[in-house]
Amino acid sequence: MTAELNCLGQRCPLPVIALAKKLPTVAIGDIVRVLADDPAAAVDIPAWCRMRGQEFLGSPAPAAFEVRRIS
């Protein structure tokens, strides 16, 4: 299952906050795809995953970032 979060046009840290609120609502193993075009998102979404122990899967398309819930 992949859930999508549309954060286009939002400035950091808003996309990261949206991700932090969304991830606990999906099942462990599921993926959240964040759409975010703020230039800081490309750094801050992987950094959030590292700090919170979640898995950053990469950026499958420009301004899109995928995170798997692992805990």
């Binding site: 400035r11 950091c12 840290p13 808003l14 990261v16 906050i17 932090a20 609120k21 703020d38 230039p39 800081a40 490309a42 750094v43 801050d44 992987p46 950094a47 959030w48 590292r50 700090m51 919170r52």
Partner: protein
């Protein structure tokens, strides 16, 4: 409430010795050192004494030291002059990904950025491979990061450059006056306001064996001699105080790093824990907007800097934090100086957790 100024990495408050020297120099050093009359000879002697003082502290010859109108101008002159002398070899500038923006702006079209690890130190294999390419005109490495404090392996990087016949430029703005700059470089820049001298004085050093074409073939134009004299006098003063000040500030920085990590949840302490500048601490707080944090701290009397995108005019996050893969939002840099007291730091550490908590509550975190 006594305001606490924690942005020494931008500008240190004028050192008392700089103030005294500046006032004296306004009477003594106002004449043009290039003229031939008595007042000018006096100015010339004072300028030479200032060059000598700076040279002695940097361990170079007096005639290798040039003063510039600011640190950025010294960076530009170092890079453009060194590349101009290497036209036949190549014009590629190899630089670390964490250079000051003044270096990146002076880099021109042909530049190669060398990646850093998560502490901000250059990747040694990537540095060697970048220097070992044809067409490299110059390499640039910051002595210590102005944003996260991590020291770079300047001497090692210089050895790699020397093996390939590439000159090395070191932006030593963060180190000069505080810690020794390692050997192995050909050109160096520094800025007086980073050590407690006046704004408006930069230092450029070009070592004797280095090929360099002056960007001022017809002379630099008049410089602010009183400010230069004050810069040199204050450099001697801070150099003399450096050992005790470094021990004091380094202990405060250790306390900041440890206490922030322990009292603020979801925080990332950035930069190398050991190999770093004595006076600078950087951290990023999850879910907090850097600009809001900076303003909230300012309202409580704390002047700090931030690498978060919302605090920059371009709305880009700090290229230094991005290169390290460090969290860029909610970022705060605290840089201390001789007027910073232990109680300033205590008050900051007591107030920060509540400020971060309130800002997070506003966004439902």
């Amino acid at each position: 409430m006594q305001p606490a100024y924690f942005d020494a990495a931008t500008a240190v408050p004028l050192h008392p010795v700089a103030k005294e020297a500046l006032i004296a120099a306004l009477d003594e050093g106002w004449a043009d050192p290039g003229r031939l009359y008595t007042q000018a000879r006096r100015a010339r002697l004072l300028l030479e004494a200032a060059q000598g003082a700076v040279a002695q502290i940097l361990g170079v010859r007096s005639d290798e030291v040039t003063f510039t109108p600011n640190g950025t101008e010294a960076v530009r002159a170092a890079i453009s002059g060194a590349l101009a002398a290497r036209k036949r070899v190549g014009q590629v500038l190899v630089h670390s990904a964490v250079e000051h923006s003044a270096v990146l702006h002076a880099a021109g079209e042909q530049s190669v950025s060398v990646k850093v690890d998560n502490t901000g130190r250059i990747d040694s294999a990537a540095w060697e491979s970048a220097i070992d390419q044809p067409g490299v005109g110059l390499a640039a490495l910051i002595s210590a990061s102005h944003e996260v404090g991590t020291l770079q392996p300047v001497e090692w990087a210089g050895e790699v450059c020397a093996r390939h016949g590439v000159p090395l430029f070191v932006d030593a703005a963060m180190s000069v006056g505080r810690i020794p700059v390692p050997d192995g470089w050909n050109l160096l820049s520094a800025s007086a306001r980073k050590w407690g001298g006046p704004a408006g004085v930069g230092v450029l050093v070009v070592r004797k064996a280095t090929r360099w074409v002056s960007p001022w073939p017809h002379g630099q134009g008049s410089l602010d001699l009183p400010a230069i004299l004050a810069a040199a006098a204050s450099l001697q003063a801070v150099h003399a105080e450096a050992a005790s000040e470094n021990a004091r500030l380094s202990a405060l920085v250790d306390r900041i790093r440890a206490t922030v990590a322990a009292t603020v949840p979801d925080v990332e302490i950035v930069g190398d824990p050991g190999q770093r500048l004595p006076h600078l601490a950087t951290f990023s707080c999850l879910y907090v907007d850097g600009e809001s944090l900076l303003h909230a701290l300012d309202r409580r009397g704390f002047a700090v800097s931030s690498g978060s995108s919302c605090t920059s005019s371009t709305l880009q996050p700090s290229h230094v934090l991005a290169a390290m893969g460090a969290l860029t939002h909610g970022n705060i840099r605290i840089s201390l100086h001789r007027e910073t007291t232990s109680s300033d730091v205590d008050r900051f550490l007591a107030e920060l957790p509540g400020i971060v908590k309130d800002l997070r509550a506003e966004v439902g975190m």
